[in-house]
Symmetry: C2
Subunit: 244 residues, 2 copies
Amino acid sequence: MTEPYELYYWPILPGRGEFVRLVLEEAAAPYVDVARLPEEEGGGFTPLLEFVQGGRPGQPAYAPPILVHGELVLAQSAAICAYLGERHGLAPAETGKRMQALQLQLTVADVTDEAHNTHHPINSSIYYEDQKDAGRRASRHFLDQRLGRFLTYFERVLERNGGQWLVGDAVTYPELSLFQLLEGLAHAFPKGFAQAAEETPLLLALRDRVAKRPRIAAYLASDRRLAFNEHGVFRYYPELDLSD
Amino acid sequence: MTEPYELYYWPILPGRGEFVRLVLEEAAAPYVDVARLPEEEGGGFTPLLEFVQGGRPGQPAYAPPILVHGELVLAQSAAICAYLGERHGLAPAETGKRMQALQLQLTVADVTDEAHNTHHPINSSIYYEDQKDAGRRASRHFLDQRLGRFLTYFERVLERNGGQWLVGDAVTYPELSLFQLLEGLAHAFPKGFAQAAEETPLLLALRDRVAKRPRIAAYLASDRRLAFNEHGVFRYYPELDLSD
């Protein structure tokens, strides 16, 4: 199939769609970011809602991001990244290593969920303002007990594999997602992240290395890249970060 | 590699390890449930903690379940189920369908996480008793807004694919996990689940069909099967279920 990929994701926030975009960009794969097109060209929220409400053919998707490739309709960011990674040389070929790449992607997803949980502990469909007290408690716990452990985990994965790559001896899709996770954590918790990351130099070096890859650097400088904001997973609420 | 698989998971609760056990059992694959061995045979918590603290060779694991197969060390239940599913004819062979199976597995994992969040909304490492009020709010929201949507989603997946199988035309690993999810939800929310499942007959039929598969039925009747209890993901707290 040579037609371009279609990505469907909320047009106003990076969120979990960004994990997919980074793989598409590193692969230099042609894609249309459908919901970001003008409404008169089929963009906006409408095409997303059609999917989620079951009005499109193909396997139903519970939520965006959704990738359409020919007849294939695929949801869940980790599954999409694995699919694209395998097609574009951004996943290990050997079965065991291919699965270890998936394992790492799923751990990135777990940390992402916990970071989201700091501002939406009760449920993601209640406004932050209506769960702010629980949020403050959740984020204190996340920063005290979890963030350092997560970062140290990935640091150890790098260490065990020679320091440069997460798995195998080349860049893989979980590395691109880990870059985004680190960027998101630094945005959401500038003080908490800076403190925790003092212990994980290999991880910071990986983040910088990914940012300098030519295609990623070009993407980050383009208007295709969405800035973090107060929607989506990684939000900066000063009251949820470490206090001085 | 013909040596038996080794599974490492908390010995006292079904949790996410059960997704892995169901694939091993349906595949009739030889495995050792290491932590459930007597301590003098290497069982108990010690071998698990060794992994989590980085004291074992191979790719580090952030948390159990962990599968060891020869040289391969693999964590994350969805990655382990995918690995076993692909090896034992419990995953579609075609790439797109193989990825759709993973998508479904990840959605089962999302519902599992939300179910866990009803009793541990602030953080999984704080006691339930210390986050009970937030738990009550989270579970009310889960039952009102989320559970029905999740079940309807899987019902629609079945419908679109002819009613019997989730993907392709044979049993796959996400079906075994969906069985466990439905059992867990029925255990945790007897009233809430019964009400929501009135709308999803195909899903209930799938649950019963999986339970009657000869190897699964034999497993469920064996002492290898752990009952739900007040540890792990699916817990019955009457105050978190629908009231009369």
